[in-house]
């Protein structure tokens, strides 16, 4: 049947991680119950807290916040180096900042300051190469957003889909 859905690889991994975590918790809870009679609860907690309550895993979308900010920074750097492209590049930089803002809101973190996302490479000296460089960045970023969208829970899929599409349209706009 066409409307049956093979589960994406990313999804499977995520679920496994979750269930692994629950299993550990369950086991530890069982162990605590068993120990409960003989050992004081405090000792038990100390023993198990170390292993069983790791810091919550970072949100899988956290890297995309940084990625969006880095893209915005790359566009701003190119716009500064090539003022004749600024009219084209600045709106796209704003879009990437808007993506970062929205992603940060969804995962419940404060948006890091844009200054922390300095572009890793300087824009090319000639405008055409600078545009080609940005296109390459967008292409890579589109791929990472595509993977994130495929693995995302329902409530995040639409936002991620828009980000994938935006990154694709930027490549078109830079041509």
């Amino acid at each position: 049947m066409v409307l049956t859905w093979p589960v994406g690889i990313g999804r499977t991994t995520q679920r496994d991680q979750t269930s692994g975590h629950s299993r550990r918790k369950l086991l530890s809870a069982g162990a605590l119950l068993v120990l409960g009679g003989a050992v004081t609860p405090l000792t038990g907690c100390d023993l198990f807290d170390r292993d069983d309550q790791p810091a919550p895993p970072p949100d899988p979308l956290r890297p995309m916040v940084d990625e969006s900010l880095a893209l915005a920074a790359a566009y701003r750097a190119s716009a500064t180096a090539h003022p004749e492209l600024a009219d084209r590049l600045n709106p796209i930089a704003e879009t990437h900042t808007a993506h970062a803002t929205e992603l940060a809101r969804v995962i419940g973190v404060t948006l890091p300051s844009p200054a922390s996302a300095a572009p890793t490479t300087a824009p090319a000296a000639d405008p055409n190469s600078a545009r080609a460089g940005l296109r390459a960045l967008e292409k890579t970023a589109q791929q990472s957003a595509t993977a994130a969208c495929a693995a995302a829970p329902a409530e995040r899929a639409a936002l991620l889909g828009s980000i994938v599409a935006a990154r694709a349209t930027h490549q078109e706009a830079l041509k």
């Binding site: 066409v2 859905w5 994406g8 709106p91 808007a98 595509t146 639409a158 349209t169």
Partner: protein
């Protein structure tokens, strides 16, 4: 609000494809040369997705919404400029329906919805470029405004 089922979301995407195909019939006659060819290709892409959806919904036992004789266009198409504007608008509208289908689908169905959203968003950008309108892109393609 209740999350629509995958079948409902795809049926809604199908209705949007019908409307896009209808609109391109009005758009194409106002264009010439390369723009007309582009309109023909765009219409063919919407027809392919329509056909695939009809097969998919039929095979899956879903409801296949009927096509209608006509669709209300958001504004009249009277010349090249309005034809290009409508083409961009129709791409954005169909993209929005596929975007909405993302939440209701997983796996291959979600991949298919994402491919449609991306393709139509890119085509909307191309139409804006042909029309010479700015900005060429929108921040969140397919998101209801």
């Amino acid at each position: 609000m209740r999350q629509p089922s995958a079948g409902e979301a795809l049926a809604s995407a199908l209705s949007a494809e019908y409307a896009a195909i209808y609109a391109y019939g009005r758009i194409g006659v106002r264009l010439t040369g390369a723009a007309r060819d582009a309109a023909r290709q765009a219409e063919a892409a919407h027809r392919r997705r329509r056909d695939a959806l009809v097969v998919q919904l039929t095979t899956g036992g879903g409801v296949v919404p009927p096509d209608r004789a006509g669709y209300a266009l958001p504004f009249p198409v009277t010349d090249r400029a309005s034809a290009l504007r409508l083409a961009a608008e129709m791409e954005e509208r169909t993209a929005a329906h596929w975007r909405a289908a993302l939440a209701s689908t997983t796996g291959a169905d979600r991949d298919q919805a994402l491919a449609a959203l991306v393709e139509y968003a890119v085509r909307a950008t191309r139409w804006r470029k042909t029309a010479g309108s700015t900005p060429l892109t929108v921040p969140f393609p397919g998101r209801p405004t």
